[in-house]
Symmetry: C3
Subunit: 421 residues, 3 copies
């Protein structure tokens, strides 16, 4: 037997035969209880449902890889409990909700919204020891139409964070929850939450994906090549995109990500100028599924904001699978990275600096919790409950008071305007 040894030619290099599938960074993507990243996530409040979904009809919800039952007792208190009844294990999805709690359908044990057992009708004296039974539960808070849960250890429960952009509504204003995935696509996506999250610090993809590839999905001004900077804060990472407009003013666009799952993307259709009117949370449903909850403040009677339009008047939901291939958007490219992207296979470049910063800040918080500390953005006293949002689409002219413009320093780079790289 002889072996034919022939040298590889240059054209032979880089063949997929040598390609090995890679690995993901668990500190970025894992959401389960007991994982390093999952324990970090469990130090924050997460939206798990719309308030309208908490009713006297039990509802299955899934968050951070845990299956739970959401209900609202007949007195109005929402409850979030483990599905499996602590007595004989049938699902409280089939439970009957009463004034004071949810009753198991099998043998009638009744549990309050905080899990306390209130009745055991088949036991003597309706349960002499019932006070010692508690259905596993999580505390919930309602905020502007969303139900938030704290799924971490009780002694680490922070105050619920509110946001200044949603405080002090004027007459004629309202706050609504909208269903969309990053401005185009369904709100649920079959991929890990982090790849949808870091996208918010990746402004360059706007010029490629949302313009060159799939047509003009956003306002034409966003096609002007901007000067981009990123800023790290104690609470998150921001990106500034500064564009010199034809009229001599500057479009100073600021986007945010906040640890762990909040992102602020001022409407890319530029229908809202000034401070952002919206903010989103990425809910890690589990390691490979994500839901986006977006909250918008707006005048009553006005549609929340424009979504990308294809072929005149069609939305993402009107396109066929074949058309989604031809007109990919955020949903396709982020889901297209796989159920969990493989970080070891990436080749990050200079334009990916924002993504790197989001990852680094997140992993520092993971490490802080692993070492026994509290992560960024967590507060335990009500005085610190309201957070200040800086994102927005700011038009800056010669008369603008720069003191009113967040992160105004980045605009210094526009004199003289940068050449397109």
């Amino acid at each position: 037997m002889t072996t034919t040894d022939r040298p590889a030619t240059e054209a032979s290099e880089g063949r997929a035969y040598e390609y090995q599938s890679g690995t993901f960074d668990p500190e970025l993507v894992e959401v389960g209880r007991g994982t390093a990243a999952g324990e970090l996530l469990r130090r924050y409040w997460h939206p798990v449902a719309r308030s309208a979904e908490a009713t006297t009809l039990p509802r299955q919800v899934r968050a951070l890889g845990e299956d739970l039952i959401l209900f609202r007792d007949a007195r109005g208190t929402p409850g979030l409990v483990v599905p499996r009844c602590c007595h004989r294990g049938t699902s409280l999805f089939y439970g009957k909700v009463e004034a004071t709690g949810i009753r198991c359908p099998y043998h009638g044990w009744l549990f309050a919204a905080d899990g306390q057992c209130l009745d055991q009708p088949c036991e003597i004296d309706r349960g002499r020891n019932k006070a010692s039974y508690r259905q596993p539960w999580y505390p919930v808070v309602e905020y502007h139409g969303l139900v938030f849960a704290f799924m971490g250890p009780g002694e680490k429960q922070p105050v619920f964070p509110r946001y200044d952009i949603f405080e002090d509504l004027d007459d004629g204003e309202e706050i609504v929850i909208i269903d969309h995935f990053a401005f185009g696509g369904p709100s649920d996506a079959p991929c890990n939450w982090f790849q949808t999250h870091e996208n918010a610090m990746d402004p360059y993809h706007v010029f490629i994906l949302h313009n060159a590839i799939s047509g003009h999905q956003f306002d034409p001004k966003l096609e002007i090549w901007p000067h981009i900077e990123w800023q790290r804060h104690e609470w998150g990472v921001t990106a500034t995109q500064d564009r010199l407009l034809p009229d001599g003013t500057i479009l100073h666009r600021v986007t945010e990500t906040r640890v762990p799952t909040v992102r602020v993307i001022p409407t890319p259709t530029l229908t809202v100028l000034g401070a952002t009117n919206n903010l989103s949370w990425a809910l890690p449903i589990d390691d490979t599924h994500t839901r986006v909850y977006a909250m918008v403040r707006k005048p009553v009677g006005v549609p929340p904001q424009g979504l990308p339009v294809y072929d005149g008047d069609r939305s993402w939901f009107d396109l066929s699978d074949d058309e989604h291939q031809v007109y990919p958007g955020d949903y396709e490219t982020q889901v297209g990275q796989g159920a969990i992207t493989l970080h070891s296979e990436e080749h990050l470049a200079a334009s990916d600096r924002g993504v790197s910063m989001v990852r680094r800040l997140f992993k520092e918080q993971v490490h802080a919790v692993a070492e026994g500390g509290d992560p960024a953005g967590v507060h335990f006293d009500e005085a610190n409950a309201v957070q200040t949002v800086v994102g927005g689409n700011y038009i800056v002219g010669p008369d603008t008071d720069l003191a009113t413009i967040p992160l105004a320093e980045s605009m210094q780079a526009l004199a003289p305007p940068p050449a397109r790289p």
Copy 2:
């Protein structure tokens, strides 16, 4: 970095954050060959199909986690064999059934109902060694319209057990097989068989599930709170429910479970009084699927028995998923315990004593077999083939001869009538 240590408040206790998913008891639930419980199950005959399903068209059946092919040769003998042909492995599902057996479609080997190879048409002299080949097979018996198989070791094959309630039919009587899951629901359920089985010794759930939760599914008399006792026998566990009726008579209801999979639930609509007219077998299809075969003796031309009715005249099959959530029954609560319930997470109470007794008796048989013995309810001589059933809905008045009433002792507790616990 500092750590915020705050004491847990009472309201913080019992959070799902501390909840750990549990484990099941393999000695109750496993059905596979080689498992302790699976070997016990293999010491009994199990129904695997209706007789009408054994035809010259091969049929796939699954029992105790094993896939098999059922057929009936053209002379009328049913056969049950491994699907994979012992020659080259294609499925006998595609076989041609002839007078003497089933012929593999690929190369034509012919196997009798007992697996014996009868022909090898592509071999010299049609197979000089064919007598040494045998397709793996199981013996079957037909009984009142069901095909039963013995799937254990040949030297442990017991006589086929018959039941006195199905012997000596009068003219005008017949025995039928009916499709339902514990009086409401499909006959196949995606959960382990044991959680459907032990339910038969859980009379308390009737008052909750079948009355308080989902309306009046059974006869109103069953809503009277009874005196309940359980009795252990060599062959199974029984429960007595005694109720003092308004007319001074006693409704003495007796239900049974028999090792391993038989349960006797006299019709809860009370349309049949006296000894039960029905008996059911739970067939463990595999670890997470169960079929219930129910046999009913009844007058010709009369419907088998009433099933629960919802909203006037609708059966389980007429309800939507949303309606099943609102009107759960046995199917929903038992499947709702999960594919295999988690015994380690249960909190059994006094009302669960019957369930505990069923489990204990079953596990004792598992241990008996593991130690080389024969389990309860198994007989090897035909003289012991007929079993005596005690279940029924008995109306006992002052003139009733208590010697004719099974387990009559339990009624002594009704003088004076018990207060509702």
Copy 3:
């Protein structure tokens, strides 16, 4: 506790209780990179798509267990690359194909058909280091309407093999690709490729499956019991089937298998006599899925060849599942062997000799590669590119020049004609 020990009777033998599920031979069936058999397969060119499927719209293909993206750049060059973009990992399925390659939709990196990165539009100077990036790729060749890929190590890439039966087309002739699975059934089958492959050296099943079981699927002459011999060659295994026809001539039918995946089955409807007009490749999609690509040379305007007909004028695709059970064909019996057949459970007989020979030759090549050698049928110089096919349906009469008939020696056994075994 006593044990009932009773001797097994003869009727008890061979019960499925003793049957253990078996194992497959990994050297025959595994296709993944790094497995012994998978590495052998990677020394040959495999068809992965029709040429018409390589367009400017990217297409997902799967071959040897690897997911790939096929495209054809706007200048006509086909490319086959790993789906996951080497930059940030989104799928090139959503890429835009341009004149020189495929552009990632997310950040616009452009890759040539050979994976070379040609543009990085978000980087300075459109990517100063772009020459150092290469998307993992495989070389492809187009041949008579099929795209073939070489998925092995570059230094082992052989010349692309052509076949003499597809060379030198006359006017009025054409070569077409047809969709069918071994003459009846869909071209994709959910089973390992080897069980479809070895079937080609199993002529006996024709008399059973295609005649006795499922009616007369092929030409009636094939129902005459033949004299069968098998021949081993350096490049594969052949089978000869010789039949004395009523007119005194001999039908000398030759079928082939060639390492690794080629089989030559002259049309069994005998509509083409002489050298075969067709040849097929079994593409191992992955361990449990197979596609058959069949190439046919024929006069323009004539249908490729007759497929089996059921009930007058219905094809496989017109039959219901119930009808497929009653009229099984190659698809049913080969898929019926399971996703991967269990070689340890087989009982090969004298009529299976051809199957044994195909397996032995294949495993010898697996071992040759494992030991560092080159396998059979692989050539590295263009002079050896054209392969000679010997399969065909030859009618041999007294005037036939036997020198023109491949493997004519086998016909000597027909004098005197063999008795049917």
